[in-house]
Amino acid sequence: MKYAFFPGCAVHASAKEYGMSCKAISKVLGIELIEIPEWNCCGSIDAIYAHNPVLSISLSARNLSLAEKMGTDVITLCSACFFTLSRANKLMHEDPKLKGQVDNVLGNLKLNYNGEIKVRHFLDVLLNDVGLEKISENVKVPLKELRVAPYYGCLLVRPPEIANFDEPEHPTSMDKLMEVLGATNVNYLDKTRCCGASLIVTKERIALEMTKNLLLTAKNAEADCIVTACPMCHFNLDAMQKDVESTFDVDINLPVLYITQVIGIAFGLNVKELGLNRNCVSPMKLLSKLKI
């Protein structure tokens, strides 16, 4: 299994542990992720798009064209990049005038894009290309004691005409993976309700309130941790958790793990390799519960 890999800006910066753990489990599962050389910003959901849609789509298209050269579909880790690249792909497909504009831009760079590849999220690969069976075969430490709250958020599963590997209202992909690892999924509301990550820089207070609600519902459902598949959600839920606590004067202390980290734990990979020391809310108590 070989794919063109689009890490996205966060995985190179604040979400290093996502990339590390992804690499680690990919090795175990025989997934070959080849980073697109000279990739650039995905094009942004809104910041550049609102300013100039064609600019945003052209930035996306450059990445897509580089990936197309590699002859495989593009895999992203970030839900936002997943959406942005897919949206560009879709709009160029539907709108020949737009495609022409973008073709001009790419032409100046001696690039071209035929629109033959798909943009996929790593979770989709795990579930549909690798398969639950292969994942379960590699489980060395069943997560018997672990109660997890899988958190899907927004653009991983929506809108259905773009994110189509799961169901928009009641997604199950992460739940299925967690079950295979032996963990228990807690029942909690709002696993697809937006955490507000796209507002954290500009409307911090609003974003924190949205995050707080989510953290509290998961905590009240007695989850040991939240599991996510997006560096934006992770940043909001994990790195900003202290701010949520201080702003609203609540005690949460709920670890937030990347899905790749949880899989890595179950595969018996070591803590450093999975970057677990990089999570802001320490998962150490949780690991000791699992006797790691």
Binding site: S14, A50, H51, E169, K203
Partner: protein
């Protein structure tokens, strides 16, 4: 949240060309199809912070209430989470036209000074132009109101926390083909600005 002011809908506040303008935007094509059912607003996770609900924004667009729409907080609070669009019975791409409204608001100077979002958009775009990729610390620096000591302090605390966890990459990202990015921006941004200035 801005206090909601009582307003009368009279012809002076209406500009029917605004309705047509929005209809021409990507996402605004079928805006007249809205039946005001409120699914978007009931679905919106950030609704609590908006001065007008997304449904009300659409109604205001129908009536051509240009200034009220462009100065509303709603368009800046939309988090593009797509819950509304997924459920809209009329297939309206609400986040998409919210994006487009932001663009009009910026162009027409509706985004007020204390509105950080336009600045965010601008800085974000500048950084991508400069490096091809995001450089978070620089973005944060650009957006910080240097006069606000409390904010400076809070940011320093956050930065320290992130730095300790290896989440701050001080060095700017590097791309060998940065010229590509410059060309894309020149092609599109400058052209657009030229057109705008004409």
């Amino acid at each position: 949240m801005k206090p909601k002011q009582f307003q009368k809908i009279v012809s002076e506040v209406r500009d029917q060309s605004f309705t047509e303008e929005v209809q021409k935007l990507r996402g605004g094509e079928n805006i007249l199809d809205c039946i005001q059912c409120g699914v978007c607003s009931g679905s919106c996770p950030a609704r609590f912070a908006m001065d007008f609900s997304p449904m009300q924004i659409i109604k205001m667009i129908h009536l051509g209430m240009r200034d009220q729409v462009l100065s509303s907080s709603t368009i800046w609070i939309c988090a593009s989470c797509y819950t509304c669009a997924t459920r809209c019975p009329r297939g309206i791409d609400i986040p998409m036209f919210m994006s487009a409204l932001k663009n009009i608001a910026i162009k027409n100077g509706f985004a007020s000074d204390d509105e950080i979002k336009p600045k965010f958009h601008k800085s974000f775009t500048e950084i991508i132009r400069k490096y091809g990729r995001m450089h978070e610390p620089e973005l944060k620096m650009k957006l910080m109101r240097k006069s606000d000591l409390r904010e400076l302090y809070q940011n320093a605390v956050l930065a320290f926390r992130l730095w300790r966890k290896g989440k701050v990459k001080l060095l700017a990202p590097r791309m060998d083909q940065l010229s590509h990015i410059s060309e894309i921006f020149e092609d599109l941004l400058e052209k657009q600005e030229e057109e705008a200035s004409k």
